[in-house]
Subunit: 226 residues, 2 copies
Amino acid sequence: MMDRTYKDIQQITLAVDCIIFGFNDNRLEVLLVHRGFEPEKDRWSLMGGFVGNHEDLDDAANRVLKDLSGLEDVYMEQVRTFGKAKRDPYERVVSTTYSALILKDKYNKELIEEFRAKWFPIDELPDLIFDHKEMVESAIRRLQRRVRTFPIVFNLLPDKFTLPQLQKLYEGIFQEEMDKRNFRKKLATMDFLIKLDEKDMSESKKGAFLYRFNEKKYNKTKNFTI
Amino acid sequence: MMDRTYKDIQQITLAVDCIIFGFNDNRLEVLLVHRGFEPEKDRWSLMGGFVGNHEDLDDAANRVLKDLSGLEDVYMEQVRTFGKAKRDPYERVVSTTYSALILKDKYNKELIEEFRAKWFPIDELPDLIFDHKEMVESAIRRLQRRVRTFPIVFNLLPDKFTLPQLQKLYEGIFQEEMDKRNFRKKLATMDFLIKLDEKDMSESKKGAFLYRFNEKKYNKTKNFTI
DNA sequence: TCAAAAGTGTTTGTTCTACACCCATGC
DNA sequence: GCATGGGTGTAGAACAAACACTTTTGA
C-alpha cells in the first residue's frame, strides 16, 4: 500500500466459500447446499460464510467448514479470490474460495440434513447461484493440477484402500480412463504404498489387496507425478 | 454465503499489491517502491492500492498498475490473497496480489522517479514491509509454474529478440542454467518462433539472429512445455 | 462352470540428457 | 590471429503408451 489514509478507504464485505470434494461410488463429488429461502430460493450454492474483522482468512475458511460440516483437520487450500463488483447482485461481496478434500464417512450426517446439503458428482452439477459454478470449475482445475504432483488424493480415501479404488479416484478427478498396468507400474516405482495382508472383498469375488499410504516413504520420493 | 444478514457483517479494507516483473541485464527483476515516510520509513514495498467499493478486483489491480507505472494492456494475473489478521500491524487489510510481466523499455521512467521506485534482481531483494517478501516469493513460484506451460515470457521481451536472450530469461526465472542445444532443439520442434533475416549485433561480434513470437502458430502447438 | 473384477510384463516409440566443436566477426 | 559469444548433432537413458491373458471365487 502506498498510503495510510485508511479513513477514506471503502470497506468491503469479505466471504469465504468452500468447495468440498468427496469421493463416492467411483465418482468425484462436491457438497452443495439447497437454499430454502429468498433470494435465490430453490437454487444450490457452495457452503460459505463471512470473514470476521479480527479473523485470519484461513481461519475463517476452517471455521466455516467446521460449522457447516463438523469437520476439523481437513486438507484445505486457498484457490482464488472472486472480486467482480456485481458477482453478488444484492450487495458487494468479495469471496475467497478454499477447497477441502474430505472423507465422506467422517462427515457429520446430521449436518447434511440440517443444511439441506447434498453431494453432486462433478459432471452433474445443478444450477448454482452467482459465480459458484465458476468457483467449482476453478477448484476442479486446481485439484487436477495439484493431484499430479502432490499425494493429496489420500485425503479422499480411507486409511486402507485398494489399488482399483485409487485408480478410480484418479480417473474421477482427471475425467479420463487410465491403463491399469501402467498405473500400477508407476506406483510401484515410487514405493510409498504399503501392501497389507488383507483384502477388501466388497467389490469383487477375488478381492483386492488393501494398501496404506506411508508418508515417511513418500517424503523420500523425488519427483512424484501421476 | 448461507445468510443474507449483511448488516451484521464486519467489513474489511481490501487492497491489491502488484508484483511487477521485468527482465534486464539477463536477470529477472521486481519493481519496488521506497517508503520515504513513517510508518515503516526507509523500507521497501510492493506497489499497491485499495479496492473501491464498486470496482472489480481485477480492475483495481489494473488501475493501480496504471497509476503507478503508466502501463496499460499488460499481462497480469491474480496470484493469491493474503489474509492474516495481523499481516499489517497498523490496521486490518486483506490484500490480493497480482503479478504483471512488463517490458522495462515501455515503462514510464518519470514515474519511477516520482515514486522512488527501483528494480531489484529477484535474488537481491531488500528488506520488505509486512508480508511483501512472501508475496514476491509466491509470485515467483507461480511464474515458474506458469512459464513452463504458457508462452508468457514473451511479455518480458521486446517484439524481436534473440535465442540467447530468451534462454537467459528462462534461466533467470528458473534460477538454473540450461543446455543451449537442448533448449534450441525443444523450441525448434514447436515451431512458433519466426526467424528474421536480421541480427542483433549488440551482444557479440558474430551477432545473433532475431526472432519473433507468432501467436497463431503457437495456438496450433499442442502440449507446450519448456 | 461361468461371470466379474484383480492382477501381471514386454515391446515400441518418444522424450530427456549429456556432451564438444566450428563459425563469424571486431578488435 | 585471437577472443567472444553464436550456432549445430548424436548416442544412451529414462519414461510413456499400447496391449492380452491368467487368477480367484461366489453365485
